[in-house]
Amino acid sequence: MEKLKYAYYPGCASQEITKEADATTRRVCKMLGIELHDMPSANCCGAGLITDYDHLLYLSLNARIFAKAETMGMDIMTICSTCLMVMNRARAELDEDAKLLEEVNAILAKAGLHYSGNIKVKQFLWVLVDDLGLDKLKAKVTRPLKGLNAAAFYGCHSLRPSKVLGFDDPERPTSLEAVIETLGGNSVKYKGRTKCCGFQADLVNLDSAVGMTTMRLLDAKGSGAEVVVTPCPFCHINLDNYQSMAEKSAKEKIDLPIFHLAQVVGLALGLNAAELGLSRHLVSSKGLLKGLA
């Protein structure tokens, strides 16, 4: 089989606030034989905010990222669902409209760049399930999760708009649960797994943000989850960092550890707490690790 290699786009969040997701992804990919190639000159996708400012600027900035990956001769792999959604929306719009692609290339030309329109943008989750394959993942498991009750939390942007993402079913997704089961965990069922974590309202309307975060956490907790697993660093920020605010709003202790996808994979591949960067989480996972020891 040809070696799996990607132009690696961790996204802004995982270069700073959720660094542990980036570090663990790198470790885990190395163990799984997935080659990640850095994109030191890649810019931010705009996280939906630049889309709200100027449509052409948003398309051009994303096309610049695609142009960089094209020169590397690789598809892009990201560990951020919002980057995934924003980049794929831009990609689809440029795929469908040759005139628009030309207009964007005229802008890129001013910076000496060109995008020919042949890029795929994938999420780490897709790479695990589709490109690597769950059998290969299973073969690498050294510390099975012993039926750990894990709630898969997809959030919004890893599933929608499904027309441009086209990976998993937006209403009945199975990929994240499949990974959890492959690692020896038990994926619990609950309603809110495809709903919004509230992140995009954090700085704009904190009450709304915490309201959403609270609902998702209580929902997952109510299903018997001992841990929540998410492929998105923004969902992680709200479910973990904002959990104390959610507890205040719900007037009850929630105490639910939140893992990045790479961390739960790393856990089953035998990485320890320090290697997983678990001390960077605000909600402690010490109890959970004891159960697995």
Partner: protein, 318 residues
């Protein structure tokens, strides 16, 4: 099926067995229940061909037009198909919801063209067709059939019932994006006010665009409204400030500078309010360096792109 009468607000489930036929829609299944086992079952429907927008309901947890949803697609071996009234709306009975809040929101955006005053007869919107470019941009927003699936799917409405919502936002864009409209700016002002729970409360969850049966793409309408508001310098709110700080951050360093963004979005006073939270984050190594934030490689290319887009915008205005 989830039922609930206004006198008995506690919802309950009732199970019906339906003999499925080839090509049967969810609405046809409900009609077969109504015509047979349970003539008291209440639901709305009219055209049965996704034009009237009456039969929106929650099918297997997501808002859909019952007439446009195939029963077969919703069926999973050994599992019931669940049908509930639309979310984010008050239930009147069974599958019938009160649409008052929906219409009030549409009313809040003045859903008709308000031309400039003192127009000559030739410039009267009835005589003057919309220009092609405007039409392209507002066309999807015109396709709305007022079924309320988007409002039912909306994450922001789930936690704030006063939020204007995707349906009314798309309607607002239909007029703001029309060059013949005379009050675009005051419309944008009203939509941007924080106390009116306007366009900046959308959380970009994409659910509205995903579930709209007519491809109205309300999120795109909201994005365009926001861009027009910023262009019109209506930026005295957290949402617009957040966007402006992101635009500035990417221009300066090519990526998101979280500390600077928090400060610019919230202003001095609210940023100070975030200090205890920031300290807690700091203990876990989660605070970005507030002063030294390195730029990406080849940042000059990004600056060139900004410059080229700005120039193009200026040329377009000439």
């Amino acid at each position: 099926m989830g039922e609930g009468e206004s006198s008995a607000p506690k919802p309950y489930w009732q199970t019906y067995a339906v003999e499925a036929t080839e090509g049967m829609s969810v609405l046809e299944a409900i009609l077969s229940v109504f015509e047979g086992e349970d003539p008291t079952l209440s639901f709305r429907r009219s055209c049965r061909s996704s034009i009237c927008g009456s039969c929106a309901m929650t099918i297997n947890g997501f808002p859909r037009l019952a007439c446009a949803t195939q029963l077969k697609d919703e069926y999973l071996e050994g599992e019931d198909i669940t049908i509930e009234p639309l979310a984010n709306h008050r239930v009147i009975k069974d599958l019938v919801v009160d649409m008052t809040s929906f219409w009030k929101k549409i009313g809040r955006v003045t859903p008709y063209l308000t031309p400039k005053k003192d127009l000559s007869k030739e410039d009267c919107p009835i005589k003057k067709p919309i220009n092609k470019k405007d039409e392209e941009l507002i066309d999807s927003a015109q396709k709305c059939i007022m079924c309320a699936t988007c409002n039912a799917a909306c994450s922001a409405l789930e936690v704030d019932k006063f939020y204007i919502g995707p349906a009314a936002s798309a309607k607002a864009w239909r007029f703001v994006g029309d060059g013949r409209e005379g009050k675009s700016e005051s419309r944008l002002m009203r939509l941007s006010l924080e106390e009116t729970h306007g366009i900046w409360d959308c959380v970009r969850c994409v659910h509205c665009t995903q579930y709209c049966p007519k491809d109205v793409r309300p999120l795109e309408a909201i994005e365009r409204l926001r861009a027009r508001a910023i262009e019109a310098e209506i930026t005295d709110n957290h949402g617009a400030k957040h966007v402006e700080s992101m635009v500035a951050s990417v221009k300066r360093v090519g990526r998101l500078d979280e500390a600077a963004m928090t400060f610019k979005t919230l202003g001095v006073l609210r940023s100070v309010g975030m200090i205890p939270f920031g300290l807690k984050m700091g203990v876990h190594g989660k605070m970005p360096h507030p002063i030294l934030f390195p730029a990406i490689k080849d940042i000059d290319e990004v600056k060139e792109i900004y410059k080229a887009v700005e120039e193009k915008k200026k040329d377009g205005k000439k």
